[in-house]
Symmetry: C2
Subunit: 292 residues, 2 copies
Amino acid sequence: MIYRVNLTVTPLENVKLPMLSSKVIKYLIASGQFLSELKELVLSEQKYKQIFISNLEMDGRRLLNYYKEIRANTVLKGFISFSHESLSPTFFSNNYNMFKTPYGKFYVNVSRVDIMDIRELNTEIEKNINKNIKITFKTPLILSPKLLLPPSLKEKFKKVSNIITTFPPPGLIVAYAYNLYCSTFGKKYIEEKEFKLATLVNGLTVVTGYNLRPLTVEIGKSKYRKERKTRGMVGWMEFDTHYEKLKKKIMKYLLISSYLGLGRSRGIGLGEIMVDFISQDKKTNSLSHISL
Amino acid sequence: MIYRVNLTVTPLENVKLPMLSSKVIKYLIASGQFLSELKELVLSEQKYKQIFISNLEMDGRRLLNYYKEIRANTVLKGFISFSHESLSPTFFSNNYNMFKTPYGKFYVNVSRVDIMDIRELNTEIEKNINKNIKITFKTPLILSPKLLLPPSLKEKFKKVSNIITTFPPPGLIVAYAYNLYCSTFGKKYIEEKEFKLATLVNGLTVVTGYNLRPLTVEIGKSKYRKERKTRGMVGWMEFDTHYEKLKKKIMKYLLISSYLGLGRSRGIGLGEIMVDFISQDKKTNSLSHISL
C-alpha cells in the first residue's frame, strides 16, 4: 500500500521557514517526535527510497525560495507519502500535537489519509487508456540525463557525474519512475529493461502541449555557509504514447510517482508531481502533418 | 559549399500573402523565373533535401499565420539556402527583377550571399568548444520522435506513422541534423550510427535554459478547401554536452542546419534555426546538485 498523509502545519509564533520548507516535517519525523515508524526511512541514504516529504503550501503554492516571515496561526499544508506493507495499529495514534522545532513551534494535525492500493491500479489504467497523460511538476524535477545511457556505456561515462538537465524527455521521466516502482515493490530492477523502456518511450511519445520552465531553488546552507542550489523544471506537459502495451506501463509507473514523486531530493519535497488523464482534444488530434 | 542567398521581396501592389509566406519565393524558383538552377531541387520529393526556403519577414518576424494584407512597397526579407558543388558563373546574373506570381507582383533583389565553407567549420568549432550551444527555433520545428527508435525496432512500429512531438529532446534534434549532413555531403548514412549518436546526446546533454512553446501553423488549403495544419516548437534552448568528441560532432551538424534548417517542411520555411555559442555563465554552472 502507498499512503499519503495530508497535514496541516500551523506555526504558533511568527516563524522564518527553513530552505526548503519541507525540512519542518522532515525534522519532526527525524527527531522521532512524529510518525516515528518512518524515522529510519527518512534518514536512509538509499537512492530510490519510497518516501516523499512535501514542501509546505500557502495560498495554493509550495513555499520554495521563501525568505519572508510566516505569521503565527497561518494554516500551512503539507504531506508525507510512503509505501509500507503493514503499519502498526498505533501508527496514527499521535496524529495531532504541538511540536518544538529549530524553526519555531508548530501545531501539526493529520487532516486526511489517502491510500493507493496497487491492485486497483489496473482498473484506473483501463478506464483512461485512450486519454492523454498530463504531468504537472509542482516543484523542480531534478534528473540526470545519464539514466538514458545504454548499460554498455555507463562505465565509460562514470566520471561524468552530477549532471542535471532541465529539459527531461518523457523516456527519462519514465525511466526514473520505473526505478522507483521496482524499489517500492521489491521488483527486480533490470538495467537493460530500463534502457529499452526509455528508448521506446522517447521514440513513440508525442508531446502535444506543455508550459515548462527551469527553476533554481536554494536548498540550504552548507557548514561553510555557502549557499547550495539546484536547478530543475516546473510546469506541465501533456503527451500520448502510440503503443498501448507501453502506455499501460507508463501509466502504472507514473501513478506510483504521483504519490512518491520523481527524481532526486524527493525526501525534501523536490519532484512533486500530479498525474491527470485528459480526454484527447479532437481539434489537436486532427493536426496531421502534410509534407509540401 | 553551402550558400544562403538573402533577398528583399517588395510587393508592387497590395497583396495577400499565401500560407505560408515562403510560397512566394518557392513559386519564383519552381516556375523557372528566378535562380532556375535550383528548380529541380525545389521540386524534388527527396526526404533530407539540401535546400531551405524561408518565410518572409516583416519587422523582424517571420510571417506564418498571417491573414492581413501587405501594402505595396513594404520591404520584406527572406532567404534561400542550399548546398551546391559548382554553381554556374551566371547563377546570380538575374539577381534582381520584377516578377508576377499568383499572389501579386513583387520586386525581388539579392541583397547578400553568405557562403559556408565546410573546411572552415573546424576552426569555428575549436574556437567555441568550451561554450554552451544555443539553438533558436525561429519557425516551428516538426520532428517525429520515431527517429529515436533503435534500427531493430523500426520495422515493428512502421504502422505508427505521421507522429510529431512538440518537445524534441537534444538527441532527436541532432539525429535529424546528422541525416541532413549525410545527405548534403554525400556521406554514407548509417542507421546504427544515428541511433548511437542520438542515445549518447540524450544521455550526456544538460539543457541549462530554455523558453519553448508549441505553435500550430496553417500550411495552406487542400484541394477540398480543408485547412491543413501542423504543430511544432518555437523558442530557444541552451545546452552543453559533457563529452568533447561528441560535442564537436553536434556543433558540426548544427552549423550545417543553421543554413539548411531542421525537421520536416524546410522547403516551405519550417524548422528555421539560428545557432549561437554562449560563454558558460559561472553562476549557472556552479549549481551543483547536493542530495540531502
